[in-house]
């Protein structure tokens, strides 16, 4: 009679919410950005996104097969990694580059550490950084969006001869060196808000990312701490630069909308696996990401610093966690 009875430690009920649910939420939240990228970059975007997602999924499956572990594809985290990686790639890169990036993301970024939950670094950013390090030229070649805004200068690279367009951030770098007008760049604000400018697939359209971020916040998939901290600290850093030397540094608003800042704030830095656990830790983490990004953007050699900043703070996460260790409500127990 009792064959169906089971026993287990308390509690015996649980909230109907799973890892897969969280990942699906993120995928839903990314869909506006995916849509925007397809609108602006047409088939380039579609092909790269499809390739990244597919390769990520296949790589994870292969790794599990090699390790003789149960299949972990149904938590959908590989799809999220693939999407974020694809959205942070420039539209013009060849598909094989995206494939290498995806394999690196999943295999080295995630599976060698033991799969989901064990990775120290954000896998998608690992892939992107590896590609940046390996194929710098390809990773900084930006195609013109299908709906080009004539206000932005068109440049041609000397070696490839392809018609490309500089991103607002690349121009901001030129402006810092005094080789471009800050005003020209600042005029890109609207275009950057809509996404009608050169840049990585999913990073151009601010409004699509905001929509997705809002969805995540409303669904409580992420808490507001990290996005708020990232944006706030980036804004403060950019403002300092802007106020001190407005002829060299572009407007802080453009810094927030341009490049990967929003994608990072809502989707990359909030990756729970690689972010600190406690609230205080999240504030520190977010502030660090924002500040390092702005440091690299304004002082460093790379036009974009988001992936470095995220990576750096990922590395510091264990230390932050340790620093922000929670004290029990009732004080530290004796003995």
């Amino acid at each position: 009679m009792l064959s169906k009875i089971t026993v287990s430690p308390a509690p015996h009920i649980s909230k109907a919410y799973s890892t897969r649910g969280i990942m699906l939420d993120v995928i839903i939240a990314l869909s506006p950005a995916v849509a925007a990228s397809v609108i602006y970059f047409r088939h380039h975007a579609a092909i790269i996104i499809a390739a990244c997602v597919l390769v990520c999924v296949v790589t994870e499956w292969l790794c599990n097969v090699i390790r003789k572990k149960p299949n972990s594809l149904d938590d959908c985290s590989a799809i999220v990694t693939g999407l974020i990686l694809a959205l942070s790639l420039p539209p013009a890169i060849p598909v094989w580059t995206a494939v290498i990036g995806s394999v690196f993301s999943i295999a080295i970024g995630k599976m060698v550490f033991g799969g989901l939950g064990s990775n120290i670094f954000n896998p998608a950013m690992a892939g992107r950084l590896f590609l940046t390090a390996s194929f710098g030229t390809l990773m900084t070649t930006w195609t013109v969006p299908a709906t080009i805004d004539p206000g932005m200068p068109v440049i041609s690279a000397t070696e490839t001869q392809a018609v490309t367009q500089a991103t607002p951030l690349a121009w901001s770098k030129e402006a810092i060196k005094g080789k471009a007008e800050v005003q020209t760049v600042n005029r890109q604000l609207t275009a950057s808000f809509l996404g009608n400018t050169g840049g990585c697939l999913g990073e151009t359209s601010t409004i699509a990312l905001l929509l997705g971020g809002l969805y995540l916040l409303l669904k409580r998939t992420i808490t507001f701490h990290i996005p708020a901290a990232v944006l706030l600290s980036a804004f403060v850093c950019a403002s300092i630069g802007f106020l001190l030397k407005s002829e060299a540094y572009i407007s802080p608003l453009l810094h927030l909308t341009a490049g990967g800042m929003l994608l990072c704030a809502f989707f990359i830095a909030t990756d729970p696996v690689t972010a600190p656990l406690s609230r205080k830790g999240k504030w520190i983490f977010g502030a660090g990401v924002g500040a390092v990004t702005m440091l690299i953007r304004m002082v460093g050699e790379y036009p974009e610093g988001v992936m470095f900043a995220v990576f750096l703070m990922n590395a510091a996460t264990p230390l932050i966690d340790r620093f922000c260790k929670l004290k029990p409500a009732g004080g530290v127990p004796h003995g």
Binding site: I108, V112, F130, S134, F135, L138
Partner: protein
Amino acid sequence: MANNDGKTLSPGNVLLAGLWRENPVLRLLLGMCPTLAVTAAVKPALTMGCSVIFVLLCSNIVVSLMRNLLKPHLRILMFTLTIATFVTIADLFLKAFQPDMSEALGPYIPLIIVNCIIICRAEACASKNGLFISMIDAFGMGVGFTLTLCVLASIREVLATGMIFERPVLPVAGDSGGWFVPWAAMGMPIGAFVTLGLLLAGVNLITRRGKG
């Protein structure tokens, strides 16, 4: 070392120990700094390996010869002195006859002084064994080290530049229409760390298979 394991201390055994069973890089994790630093290309890696073989051989010979005269407190000092001398000789030699390599390797040649392999072999083998065994041991260890370096360097050089020994092996994309786009990251620190990490993992896998 195998001398107390009941195994016979045959020269072949000692040689093989250095090559695989106690390979300094892959099994003992010694001398990691040069392993990572000079393996962007095969040529400097080979040069480095040869320098290590030379220093290892010389220091082992010297230590083995005076192993019975060593006093406990001054032993390490004695080793250090010997090694530093031979490293300087190697450095001078390279500067004189291989100036390009000397420049490419830079301070990593003098850093052989603090390469754990050398002092480790002096301590573990040369100070306990006769001249012949010490020499064989030094040779085995040195060759093991060099081979590992070369393997690592060839992987990295091919992927980073499409070349081995600065000779093209993969058609590099460009004007001549090759298909291979070099992975610059392999020439950077990330390439060094990840390749060595995966190499070690592979070795672990093989040894475990062997045991199981």
